[in-house]
Point group: C2
Chain length 173, copies 2
DNA sequence: GAAACTGTACCGTCCGGTCGGTACAGTAGA
DNA sequence: TCTACTGTACCGACCGGACGGTACAGTTTC
């Protein structure tokens, strides 16, 4: 869809030049479209940013859904797998994520994000073999996300693999 | 110092109304000062934000320094303790943190933040009894920070205490 | 020829930053 | 002690530019 191409352009501007560079003109130029054309699809800038936010959330939900099957412990495992998938695909999804969250600081824009965060981390204690371990594992995945977005070179491939393995192992025992 | 009062005002504006509300006029009004008065102390808005960033970094470094004593394993322990101290003080420091990091998305402004993040998480593997565990524990602390800033009500006092205890226990074995 | 879409010219607002000026405390000289 | 001068802190009107958004006249597609 055309809208997706526009969102791609917005994300590109955002992750390359930061929040304050996200202007309607910049996005339109990047997408090879005039400002009027952009505004035809997203009537306001707020609508654009909102669409940006809901898209990343859906993407991550999908990623979780690829591994999650409802069985006990499956969610935390899926969360870990989804996180590492993000880091090993070439798409630099984590760069996009942090850029988008930074762009959505207005209370209203941030709300879907907060809601998603709560959904991802507030889990049924009975879901994991040990609930505290499950929580810690998910938090570590979250932290990894945060660290990677600030300092992508910090962990090498081997270290990431070791982290993933250990996190999954923690869930098993 | 007067500058600190101005920074306090900026933080207040930031955490209450988001990034785009951080205007010179808003900060000045909040501090009970004219725009000219504010600009006397911080010649540009960039200088203001930069000061904001370096202050939070220093604050967290100090917090780590309160527990860190150079002994093996001491750093990861100090990192965990510092994180939980932030959540148990009344100052809602974590709210300030996320607001400030969001405000500093321009590559130049974000650099000191990235540097701090690398400093906090790139540690000597020999420092912890088990380096992977140490990394996971620090990442979990980082993740907790992130989750709390988006959804402060998610973990109750008891859950936080349990998390802290378990994280410290993981470092001991 | 209607609908979907695009391009462009333009408007009003807001924001960062400048600048001329004020208040005032200190101080130094005679 | 009066005067002249200096430096610091602060004020607020104003400017230029950028940005979000509107209006509307094309243009393509079916």
């Amino acid at each position: 869809m055309k809208k997706d191409a526009l969102l791609d352009a917005a994300e590109a501007v955002l992750s390359e030049h930061g929040t304050q560079a996200l202007t309607l003109t910049a996005v339109a130029d990047r997408a090879g479209v005039s400002k009027g054309g952009l505004l035809y699809h997203f009537p306001t800038k707020e609508a654009l940013v909102k669409a940006l936010v809901t898209r990343v959330i859906e993407e991550f939900d999908d990623l979780i859904g690829q591994t999650y099957d409802g069985s006990p412990g499956s969610y935390s495992r899926a969360y870990v797998e989804a996180t590492f998938k993000v880091f090993t695909d070439g798409a630099r999804t984590y760069r996009r994520w942090s850029a988008i969250t930074a762009a959505a600081t207005d209370p209203e824009l941030a709300e879907p994000l907060n809601e998603a965060m709560a959904r991802w981390h507030r889990r049924d204690p009975a879901e994991d073999r040990d609930p505290v371990t499950g929580t810690i594992v998910r938090l570590a995945a979250e932290g990894l996300w945060e660290v990677m977005s600030h300092s992508p070179e910090l962990y090498g491939e081997a270290e990431l693999a070791a982290l993933r393995e250990r996190l999954l192992a923690l869930l098993e025992r």
